[in-house]
């Protein structure tokens, strides 16, 4: 049993989706997260353990390596794909309530901005951190964030921007959310964003990378 969890952790950390996937070269021909997750469920390992003892630690390692510049976007995305293949098998257990997530994270790219790769990476890493994700996509204004918050009370909000010209729109969104749904925690990120800007617009946290977002959320959940 333990061995399967370890194998799954390795498959996700190095981005092995399924047996026929050519990536990564060092795991060629071996089972990927798809097959290992199926075996793990069949063996009777609890889905909660699969999430907590394989997926979450694997994605934490990936996030750490990314923030240390040891891996880059492609490897992170490979890992996210491997995690996704595993999550697909675990989905029924989320729906039935057998797996408890740490909470809900609502994420979107700021109004006026269409860049979504950074936002998607954060969403994947946060999901791999054991959270439910509501992804609102790109060009998202305050009304859509507020609507999503009404549907998911107590959720934490993440806003992303890639352009200096669009990040200014975060200010209006943050103040609208804080006015309509007080006590909402908001984290922001993206290339032009920094801590000073975060404080200036009254957001709660600036995450310099996906791992920073996961760590902040976990702190909020505990």
């Amino acid at each position: 049993m333990e061995e399967l969890l370890e194998k799954l952790l390795e498959a996700v950390e190095f981005g092995k989706v399924d047996q026929k996937s050519p990536y990564p070269p060092q795991l060629k021909g071996q089972d990927g997260s798809h097959e290992i997750t199926i075996s793990a469920i069949e063996t009777g390992i609890s889905p909660q353990r699969i999430l907590e003892e394989a997926l979450i630690p694997a994605m934490a390692r990936v996030g750490k390596k990314f923030s240390e510049n040891k891996i880059f976007v492609p490897q992170m995305l490979m890992s996210a794909r491997a995690m996704g293949a595993s999550m697909l098998q675990l989905k029924p257990f989320f729906t039935s309530g057998d797996i408890k997530t740490k909470g809900t994270f609502i994420i979107g790219t700021v109004k006026g901005d269409l860049h979504d790769i950074g936002k998607n990476l954060v969403a994947m890493m946060v999901e791999g951190g054991g959270w439910s994700i509501v992804d609102l996509g790109v060009d998202v204004g305050s009304d859509r964030f507020i609507e999503a918050l009404r549907n998911n009370p107590g959720a934490i909000v993440g806003i992303s921007a890639l352009l200096t010209t669009t990040m200014v729109n975060m200010g209006e969104i943050v103040s609208s959310i804080k006015e309509e749904v007080p006590d909402t925690k908001i984290l922001i990120g993206g290339a032009p964003v920094n801590d000073d800007f975060c404080q200036k617009i009254g957001a709660d946290f600036y995450a310099p990378d996906p791992q920073g977002a996961v760590e902040y959320l976990n702190k909020m959940a505990s």
Partner: protein
Amino acid sequence: MIKHSIRLHPLGKELMVNDQTPLIDVLHEFGIEFPCGGKGTCGKCKVRLLEGEIKTTEDHQQKIEKLGLSDDWRLACFSKCTTDITLEIDQFNHLILADESEFDFCPQEGFGVAVDLGTTTVVAQLIDLSSAKVLAVETMLNPQVRFGADLISRIQSCIDGNQTEMTRIIRAVIGKMIDLMMKKHPVELQKVVLVGNSVMQLIFSNGNVSPLSMYPFKTDNLGLKTLIPEELGWNFQVKEKVKFYPSIGSFVGSDILAGILATGLHQKEKFTALIDLGTNGEIVIGNKNQIVCASTAAGPAFEGANISMGMRAVTGAISSLNLVEDKIEAIVIGNTAPKGICGSALIDAIAILRKLDLIGMFGEINSGETAIQITGKVSLSQKDINEFQLAKAAIATGLSILARKLSIELDEIETIYIAGGFGSYINIENLAATGMIELPQEKIHKIGNTALIGAKMFLFSDTEMYEEILTKTRHINLEGDPNFQNIYVDKMLFL
């Protein structure tokens, strides 16, 4: 270090350069094209040696003979400066196009000025409209650079209240460049044409830039702009109105419209592509029936931005790297000590490091170190390599999505032209090795400044010519494509 003077005829310019400086380093700044990319096959960069000496190698001598030139001619792409020299630049007597042919023009009365207003550099040439001869050239840095290096920061600076100043200084600099050329050649100007990207166009014509600051990035203010010298603050007369040519789309300007004209891709049966590896990274694919184009966020890395030791293709930049018996050898612009690395050498560095297996398929430094020494004090960090991956993936993704929009395979493209500030220095073999352009090397041709060539052609053309191109051309928003992310991430790999 020993210095020599180079006098350029008919420009009347005199420059001082270090011993052994290749002529290509000096001449490309004056808008001189090297259509075959320095292979010595096209002969379009030929110069006549009026005074002094340029020694020829056996290879150089053979190329000169093969082209049927007399013994006072040299190929600039093969020449180094070792004494004081005076050169007559043949290219200034004709207008050479991207495909190595000459522009067939209808002679006109008078004189004109063509300006390529780039985000970083401005080039202007004074042209005799009866012969298409270049009489004078001026090159200057765009003074707006102090308001930001890339287009988004320029736009931001306009919104922050600096637009009036940015408009004033660019008009003043171009006026000064034209003034300098007319001091040497006191002629009456018939016309002045300008090309540049859409943001440069809007700032020059004092249009509203803010619609380009966020989605949907749309403005209907990108058509042909006509202005008179008085409103530009210019103290000389121009008989016709000053024309800034129309942009194609929100981030694809008249510099690319000019590029399409210069490559003639809008008249060809087979598909041709044009990639401008400048700050804005525009891509065009098309033929006589239809043309698609897009801009990518590829440029900054190639212009030296975001690269720890990156710089533009100016004196002190490593322009190329070669692998000689497993050792990396650097060529530095101006033959001085290396200060940093420019776009073309960045491409070489990545190709060489990958070849030596010092970096892996994901761009990771295999040793686990945070940087790799290239030569002397110049090194590439892991982050620099990642920046390059983003840039090369942006270009490769752009090509892939544009080809899909035309419902063609990439290999249906017959010829692909690489333009850009450092275009002449690019090593095609290395470019292909990085996976930025996934086509066989023989299809890839480098060319310098297609925007300037096209601007000169506009001096001789009527408005119908560009309207025909505009009608055929579709502007594509790459990030709006549902497959963008998957393609983009795949193209970051080194396979």
